[in-house]
Symmetry: C2
Subunit: 440 residues, 2 copies
């Protein structure tokens, strides 16, 4: 297939350039006197710009009080740009590499879009933008039901728009100093925000698949795994958080049962990788914190605004392990088998991620005087572009902030580049004799 | 090949029975009034017996002061029994499953032992025992050079014998309250103990291979990987500990350069999986602690008294990842290629281990009021049958102690059983159509 040669950069290089330019311009804009009440430092401006562009949501300063409406508008714009950039790149991978997505679907897309031409890609991206803005506008209207009466017309609309963008792009920035803790019992806010980030995080291919099929049976294996996996993992997470925090007076302990359930639900679905919080993270039990770290590491769906190693990667590794333990060779689920090269890819992605996180953790442990747990939490949150924090972001050293900026950038650009690169394996030139090794 | 049907249990069942019976008898003996100065509780007796039989070395009480010479003798006996049991089982796997170990070697072994008959196995196990006791006796003599003048003839000999057994079987029990901290600058103790546990931990197949070959080139891939891997990992670990603890006044900070180097060396080679210490673990920097946790998780060599996922397992996963990142299909190292089924096995072992450790960690975090780091350290130490601790073992709750007993048992018996089971994959009956999944 023909890759459009509009610019003499390959797609991953283009992605890096777009991100670097956007973050630089964003940093300059956030440093303008009209962006912040008082002045913020260069590193802090760079941090917020990177956090916004990579839709992470970690913040070294309080977004709601530090920035003016102009500054907050710039942040929302960066989030929107970052989210759309990531999605466009995902679409590009999806099209250019001719991902197998079922024949009916492919015909449908080819018919509608003539996908190999530049015009086709532009058309598809147009559809994507339309879909994006419609959902965000619709969500903004719903959120206005709560926030316009509370905050007045303009401020209410701005808050609704900001949170709609922040949620749908899985950024997790909030204009409220304590996140969404004030709305932990509010079904309208809980549901609107969580549905937004779940749709935004489930992945482009899943959305196209559901949109173009009319029965469960005909959905692709990827879609089925994402839906089942999300459902089971979210339910398990909700149960765990509910049980572990039930008696904790600083989190669920003092809340009535209804609020306990809402807060457990929200805090269960948010770590992969929305990053909003309705409970105080730092007050949680260490078991809950560790559980959330695991959720953040797993992350959301492929080809989405979410981060982490991705739910399907974790599922493939789990399936491969179970298959092997049962002494079988063929990895199968839902009456489909999975090629071993996919297992290898999942393994590679997981291992690179684990090694990267461990390295970052060891370095930050040397530069920061914070607890091990809070640093591990921060590193995984940055790597998975989640944005939850035990509250140490603002107290990081300059070196620590720069490292987290670096981790957020790699956490977002790295997996996309890796996915693109891994999609076309090189040919071997010669072969060595095979020999066994004892493992385990 | 014919498996001897002396007992109507399969080898893993036999292993579990032998372990359970030995631990039960050991517990009873340690509860005898003549075993301890004052009485120890049932759970503590069970803990020490399990820790000894699984050659872990974690201790809820101070071995040197709590137990009488009789009690200490029982502990040494359990360690010896556990180590020999594990090695015999490893030999059984090695023989019964007809592991590929190079033609020359196989001919040599067949010639010497007629390996498929019961007589052959008994003969091989005899050789193993002879090898074992010779090394331990020799080491005891060397250690006596230091301890007989220091402690008198009989106590000196007993201490030398105890530490020789404890080191060669990778148990890590010490009769000194502060471990080997008092000897951190002593080359004789440092070298004798570390060489003992390195030989004991490198694995039966590696020893046979080195013993039967007369050139580096003809060594098996497994042996070469173990030797290179151990050398590089130990050197990297020594460098890391030296750098991270250099200024820590509670560990290396106040020591002269020579002692700094000896202590770094010893603390670098010990976590995989000997478990002796010449520095105070709890005083180490959190980065060092985490690094040691990684080392404990990796562990020693296959078919050895060591634990963990094993060095070759970690190497295979690393190689597979690097291969994939370079866009190649064939995993090769040192001019040999590795079959993908070995990668799958390494993946399965690592994943089961990670999931097991995470579960244990979450549960112990709920039952114990200790810091997250100290619990993680304890769990990985028990799982890898290492025996290093940040000092919380004695303060664990009863539930916590029972959980650690369970983890030590599974950490030792589990991987051996898994290795045995994984060695013969079942045949598939039918095949599902292949379908792709997006990962990463
Ligand atoms: K986020
Ligand atoms: K040990």
């Amino acid at each position: 297939m023909n890759i459009p040669k509009v610019i003499k950069l390959n797609p991953p290089q283009l992605l890096v350039v777009v991100f670097c330019v956007s973050i630089s311009v964003g940093t300059l804009l956030l440093k303008l006197p009209i962006a912040a009440n008082g002045s913020i430092g260069w590193i802090d401006a760079l941090f917020i710009a990177t956090s916004a562009m990579t839709v992470t949501g970690l913040a070294v300063v309080d977004i709601g009080t530090t920035f003016t409406v102009f500054g907050q508008f710039i942040i929302a714009l960066l989030v929107q740009l970052g989210g759309l950039g990531i999605m466009s790149f995902a679409v590009l991978i999806y099209i250019v590499l001719g991902r197998r997505i079922g024949i009916k679907e492919r015909l449908l897309m080819q018919h509608a879009l003539n996908q190999t031409s530049v015009g086709g890609i532009i058309k598809l991206v147009k559809y994507l933008f339309l879909f994006y803005f419609s959902i965000e506008f619709f969500a903004m209207m719903i959120l206005s039901i709560r926030w316009v009466p509370e905050l007045g017309l303009w401020k209410g609309l701005f808050y609704s728009g900001f949170h709609a963008i922040s949620a749908f792009n899985n950024a997790g920035f909030s204009l409220f100093s304590d996140g969404l803790i004030g709305y932990r019992a509010d079904p309208l806010i809980n549901l609107t925000i969580s549905i937004l980030f779940i749709i935004g995080g489930i992945g482009f291919t899943v959305l196209v698949d559901i949109w173009s099929k009319n029965s469960w049976k005909r959905l692709s294996l990827h879609t089925k795994l994402m839906l089942w996996g999300s459902l089971i993992l979210n339910a398990a997470a909700m149960l765990f958080i509910f049980a572990a925090e039930y008696t904790n007076p600083l989190t669920l302990g003092t809340l009535p049962l209804g609020e306990k359930l809402w807060a457990s639900y929200f805090q269960a679905v948010s770590p992969r990788t929305a990053g909003f919080n309705t409970l105080d993270i730092a007050s949680m039990d260490e078991a809950t914190l560790f559980f959330i770290i695991v959720l953040m590491f797993i992350g959301a769906g492929s080809a989405s605004t979410g981060g982490g190693i991705k739910l399907t990667t974790a599922l493939v590794i789990l399936l491969a392990t179970l298959t092997f333990l049962r002494g079988k060779n063929e990895i199968s689920i839902l009456r489909r088998s999975i090629h071993s090269s996919i297992v290898m890819k999942a393994l590679a992605i997981s291992m690179v991620s684990i090694v990267f996180v461990i390295f970052a953790l060891l370095i930050l442990n040397l530069t920061e005087a914070q607890s091990f747990m809070s640093i591990l939490f921060e590193v995984v949150s940055a790597f998975g572009t989640v944005g939850l924090s035990m509250g140490i972001t603002g107290s990081l050293t300059a070196v620590g902030k720069i490292l987290i900026i670096f981790i957020m950038f790699l956490g977002k650009v790295g997996p996309l580049t890796l996915l693109f690169t891994l999609a076309k394996p090189a040919k071997e030139k010669y072969s060595y004799p095979k020999e066994d090794i004892l493992t385990g």
